[in-house]
Every structure is written in structure tokens, then in C-alpha cells.
Assembly symmetry: C2
Homo-oligomer: 415 residues x 2
């Protein structure tokens, strides 16, 4: 049998994938704070101290006892003596007497006996040592109390959280200098096929340069995972078997690129089945492009047989390998969109077979009237240039037979 016509729906394939994914690898590494961007917390992180450690001003102005300003207005200001100034970076050992205040800058420590800050804008300078306060403050206004940003032993980040710039800032603020994160997901890539040669060689007639291993490695890097290339296997069982054994031992995921096309397909299927149980879970999904994908699990390693066509391989990666990487990375699911998107007006009719989910590459232009327009790029699925010309893709759901010109479609933009 050369072909394979029995396929499962995209929804079923994704369900089967989710059911068979092994739990996130428990392996953890501790990394310096400035290398944690994009990494996933391996445990809840608690604050070792109060932030700020002491009450501080959040405004430029005057540290006061709030009750000294009660009832103050433009017409009936409160007069306060400016009896001192808080120096930045110094601990004010004493504070103003009742009826007096200290000048204070944003970030300055609140002097003893004061409980609020009057903003500079709500004061009028009378002379060197006297101000009018023209608006009252309540206790706690324009200050941040000790522990108000983060309390000692309060939770900073939860396990499964992806570390963003502001998270690093907060961790720096409480003096945490290294963080325990999940190790990056490791992914082995094997290209297969007698016709494939390394991309930096000149092909003889009949041979073709390996395009997929570099583009798949880049898709993997975009997800903050670690690709390793194991080489190009010929259509001999021994060749593929040796590489896949090596890759299986050292990675959470192994990708065979090209293994689902004829010639290498049956071999790929056979070799994958030999790797361990449960073996092949899905073989063929009702999607276009990407149909001949193989999803398998051997022990704790996920194995994906991706189509040889570069466009199909890229789409199959996005549909199936991407969620597997995200799951294995330990990222907690926040149900938020993972792609940039834009809603655009479809600029031509598109037909699609019912019972199949289609992904159509589109170029997006913003019209003179500022309307985003989606132009489908039709081309052979072997033509990677169609994906290079495209800004993203639209999905035609399984139950639809197409989309009409003028409809508003959601374009998922490429990373």
C-alpha cells in the first residue's frame, strides 16, 4: 500500500495527542536571574523579604502627618513648616514635629511620625521654610507601605509560570539571584530519504537539499526549546534505526522529517513501532496541508513523523509538535492566545472539502481605508515560497465547505 486514505479529524488527533503526552519532565535546573527570560518556573517562588522593606514616598512632595492637612483647601490652606528633607538613600533617623513636614522625593523613606505625602502640585511655596497645603491627604496617601508590593513569604510566581521582564524585575527587587526552572525541552531532528543531502552541498540531479531540518530547528527555537540535528537517514532500516535510537535516548521529542512520504514511509512506520509502546497513536489527519503526519509515543518519548513537503511539515509542526513542546515545557495553561492575530477581510472565495480542516496561507495588506485585507496565496504544497510570501494563515473549519470573499477572517500571524 502506497497511500493511506483513512484519517482522523483534527479534533480527534489533538485529543489523542493530549491523552498520550507524558507528564512534564521533572528535571529542573537553577539558572542566574539574568538568564531566566522565557524559562518556566519549576516551583512556586516565595519572597524572602518585604518589598519595600520600609514605607516610601511614591510622589515628589512633603511627608506629613495626614491630620495636619485635614480641611485644607485653596481658600483655606494648611500652613506647614518645612523643617527638614529626606535624603535619597538615607534612613531618616527622626521626623518633623507636629505641624511641620519634610521635603521628600519619589522613593524616599517616610520619616518617623509621618503617614502620608502631599504632592508637590497640591502645595504653594510661601518661603524657604513654609508651604501652603491646598488639598488634604488621608493617612497612607502617596506612600507605599512596607510589604505592600510584596509581603515576606508571599508568593511571587507560581510553578508553570513563564518568566517575563517584569517578573525578573520583581525577583531582583527581593534579592533572588537565581531561580529553579524546568530544563528546556530537547528535540531531536532526523531527516529521511535517499534523495536528501545536507543543505550546504550541491545536489546532483535527483537529489534535493535538506530544507526541513533547519526550518524545524528554527520553529523549535521560537518556542524556547532545544533542537539537535542527528543527520539524514537513508531508506535503509539500519540507518534510520541507529539514528532514532540515539535520538530517543537523549530527547523528550523526536521528529522524523520526510518519513511519512512513500519509500521512507513504511520504513518510518516500522522503525517507530519498534521503539516501544504504545507506538503509533495517529497516522493521517484530515487536514490540508499536513495530512500524512504520524504521532507516536515510545516509552516517555514522543515521536512525530512529519511530511516531507516543507509547507506540510511546518503546518504539522505547528498543529501537533508545538502543543507537545508547550505541554512538556511545564508551562501552565492560561488559555490565552499564543499567536499574534489580525482580523482581515477575505479577498477571494475559498473552497474546502467538508470533513477536512484547511489552513490557507495569506498575505495581509492594509488598504488605503486602513482595512486589513487577507489575500490567499495559492500554490502547490511543496512550494515553500508560498509560506515565505505569507504573513500568516487562516483556518477553514472541518464543517465548512469554504469561505466567501468579503468575510472577516482571523489571520494567525507567523512567529
Amino acid at each position: 500500500m502506497l497511500g493511506r486514505s483513512d484519517t482522523v479529524s483534527l479534533e480527534n488527533a489533538l485529543q489523542l495527542l493530549q491523552q498520550h503526552l507524558p507528564p512534564c519532565s521533572a528535571r529542573k535546573v537553577t539558572v542566574p536571574l539574568d538568564e531566566t527570560l522565557g524559562r518556566i518556573c519549576a516551583a512556586d517562588i516565595y519572597s524572602p523579604e518585604d518589598l519595600p522593606p520600609y514605607p516610601r514616598s511614591t510622589m515628589d512632595g512633603y511627608a506629613v502627618k495626614a491630620r495636619d492637612t485635614f480641611g485644607a483647601s485653596e481658600k483655606l490652606p494648611a500652613y506647614l513648616e518645612v523643617s527638614g528633607e529626606v535624603s535619597m538613600g538615607e534612613f531618616p533617623g527622626h521626623g518633623p514635629e507636629p505641624g511641620a513636614c519634610y521635603a521628600i522625593a519619589t522613593g524616599g523613606l517616610l520619616p518617623p511620625g509621618t503617614d502620608a505625602v502631599v504632592m508637590l502640585e497640591h502645595t504653594v511655596t510661601v518661603d524657604d521654610s513654609m508651604i501652603e497645603v491646598v488639598q488634604p491627604v488621608a493617612a497612607g496617601m502617596n506612600i507605599i507601605n512596607a510589604g505592600e508590593d510584596v509581603a515576606k513569604d508571599g508568593i511571587l510566581l507560581t510553578a508553570g509560570h513563564r518568566i517575563r521582564p517584569q517578573d525578573i524585575g520583581l525577583l531582583a527587587g527581593v534579592g533572588l539571584d537565581s531561580i529553579t526552572v524546568f530544563r528546556r525541552v530537547r528535540i531531536g531532528i532526523i531527516s529521511t530519504g535517499d534523495e536528501i543531502i545536507p543543505h550546504d552541498q550541491v545536489p546532483e540531479p535527483g537529489k534535493t537539499r535538506d530544507m526541513n531540518s533547519l526550518s524545524l530547528a528554527a520553529q523549535i527555537k521560537n518556542l524556547n526549546a532545544r533542537p539537535t540535528f542527528y543527520g539524514i537517514a537513508t531508506d535503509e532500516e539500519e540507518s534510520l534505526n541507529g539514528m532514532i535510537l540515539e535520538a530517543n535516548a537523549a530527547n523528550e521529542i523526536v521528529l522524523l522529517s520526510g518519513s511519512s512520504s512513500v519509500g521512507t514511509r513504511d520504513l518510518g512506520e516500522k522503525v517507530i513501532e519498534q521503539m516501544g509502546s504504545p507506538g503509533i497513536i495517529v497516522h493521517g489527519v484530515a487536514v490540508k496541508p499536513g495530512k500524512p503526519v504520524i504521532i507516536a509515543r515510545a516509552g516517555d518519548t514522543m515521536i512525530f513523523g512529519l511530511p516531507g513537503h516543507p509547507v506540510s511539515a511546518a503546518v504539522a509542526f505547528d498543529l501537533f509538535v508545538r502543543p507537545a513542546i508547550i505541554h512538556l515545557s511545564g508551562l501552565a495553561d492560561d488559555d490565552l492566545p499564543r499567536h499574534r492575530t489580525i482580523n482581515a477581510k477575505l479577498m477571494r472565495n475559498l473552497s474546502s472539502a467538508s470533513g477536512r480542516t484547511d489552513f490557507v496561507r495569506v498575505l495581509v495588506k492594509i488598504s488605503k481605508d486602513k482595512v486589513p485585507e487577507a489575500y490567499p496565496i495559492l500554490g502547490k504544497s511543496g512550494a515553500l515560497s508560498t509560506m515565505v510570501k505569507a504573513h500568516g494563515y487562516i483556518e477553514i473549519a472541518e464543517k465548512l465547505q469554504g469561505l466567501k470573499e468579503g468575510e472577516i477572517v482571523e489571520v494567525k500571524l507567523f512567529d
Copy 2:
């Protein structure tokens, strides 16, 4: 004067910024193909050869002369002798006689004399050497012609294009092994303020750990630019002056963090003005948070004075430094969204001063009915934890006085 009440609108500030940005640095570097992900093409890239170099099959099936299949149907199939097979990776020296065909797999080279491929699914096997074709093919069907993906000397990528995984695949396919890209934008970071100590030291009372330089460096890395930290300047002119001179000489952009708060503010302003013309372009923008930002240009270096408050610094970075980095990176503007977004239902009223653009941090939850809900996180602008709890932010436009509970708002999700 401690404070500053004259501000320009966000729109004006962005216009002034765009007008004063120097052109993208012309400096180019050549990098190996597998290191080009996310880099910006410094010149148009042309294909050195046809891709594919020869016509290939895009399906599993039989290479035929199309005219031998004309009129074929289920009821009246065309009978073709299978007189050979195309081996993958080999150049077929001869082709089938008229009325005969060769078995061919996806990716196989079309044998001489054939001009189309009949899909396996449209054939019935009669015996070892004969098939029925039940559907006709036109010349060119199920094949990709030489140069049809990319023609020799055709343009692959244009200058200013950001390199994505599929682009790397295509470049590999035509044998381009290294690419000329723009050098990454270099950004110097200087923290200022007598009260600031390095984040890995234990602060004495009155001192505070440097939070901004690490989080700004992470924001810079997220944009594929290169941060360098120059240290913490005290409130003495000599200290800041030395650092800023050094940073100016080696970077396209210099960030002073904390320089726009009182104490260091006037000093920062003075030192920035001394660096060269045109000097300060914008000082204070009607946004919340982020108001006390300074935008300056000294010669070909952009200098930004960012607020000391971590939240204000992060927002001011996103509003002003981010577009400057993108411009200087050489990225061509495609007018497409740069943030992931989600439309969500606002879960409480928000008020805002008219004449000021507000950015409100929100936590997004997906309700049981699958409705995304945006919960504003209200907290002091000094409290970085508010940004850590948030998934993104919403914008309240300058002309609005607020937003109503129940409105659908667009949330920009944090990177």
C-alpha cells in the same frame, strides 16, 4: 522646580520621536544561516538557482503523458502499462513509452516524456504491470515545475524582512549558507540614584535594589536587541557624566533609569543636554503610568530618561523605546500588530482623566461560558507586583473619561 506639569500628548510625543530618530545604522554582518532566526535582512536576497531544479512529483502515483488519460472515468478507465519506477534520489535517464507510465513517489523526478502525475487514489491496480486510471489529468497536474517554487535570480527576501523559520528553510533549499543582516541594536543601560544598589547586594535601610536594569535588559532581549549595563550612577554629575559618555560612544540607544525622578532628574536633564544636539525633544508625556519620560537625541544616539518606578519604566519602554529599537533595527514596517491580543469583557468601571492616555494592567480569566474577562489590577504605580499579576494591559484613549463595566476591550498581552 521639583515637578513638571507641562506635558505633551502621547500622539505628539510619538510623532516627535519618529521625526528625530536617526536612520537605521548601516552596519551589516554576515551570519551563518542557522543563526539568522529573528534577524533583519540588510539587503534583498536573490536565488542563485531554480527551486526545484527539475520537475518533481508532488504526489504518490504514476508519471504519465497527460493525453494518455484524456476521457478516463470510473466507467471507462484508461489502461496504462507500468513499465518502470522512479527511484528516489536518482535521475531517470529515460521515460515510459506512449501508453505506459512509471510509478513515482512524492518528490520523485519526472521522467523524460511525461508531463503529469496521476494520484494513486485515482487508479486501480489491475495486475503487477497494469493500472486503470479512473480520472484524467491535465499536463502539469500534481507536479512542480523547475523554478516554480523559486526561479533563479528571483527575489527570496527583501531588505528589512525579519527572518522566520520558513525563510530559513527556503534559503537552505537554494543553498544559501550565510546571510547579510543588520547588526543588532545596541542599548546601554545606566541606573541612577544614590539610593540604588546592585540587586545582588543586601540593602541598608534607605537603599533599594536595582530592579529596572534587569527588567529593561529583558525587554530589550525580547526585541532581539543587545543590552549592556554600565552601572549605577550616583547623584553626582561626574559619576553620571562618565557613564553616559561611555555608553553614548558604544550604543545606538542609551537608557537612564530613574533619571526622571527628582534629585537625579535635574541632573539627568543637564547631563543629557550636554551630550549634543538636538538634545531633549520631549520631557513629560500625558500618559499614566510613564509620565515623566525624557526623550532626547545627541548626535546619532537616542537617549531616554525613564521613570524610576518600575511599572512606569516598563510602560515608558514599551511606548517609546520599543518603536525606536524597531526602527533602528532596520525592520520594514508591515503595519501588522506586534502584540498578541485578546478581546475581553471589562469587569469593572475605570475612570481616567480626559487629556491623558491611561494604560491599565489587567488579569484575564476565561469564564465558564468561555468568555474572556478582563479584571483591572489597581495598585500603586511603584508596585511591580501589579505587573507580575497582570497578563497584559488595556489602553484608555486620551479623549475618553473612562471605560464602563461590560465593555469589550482589547487586551495587549505581555511578551
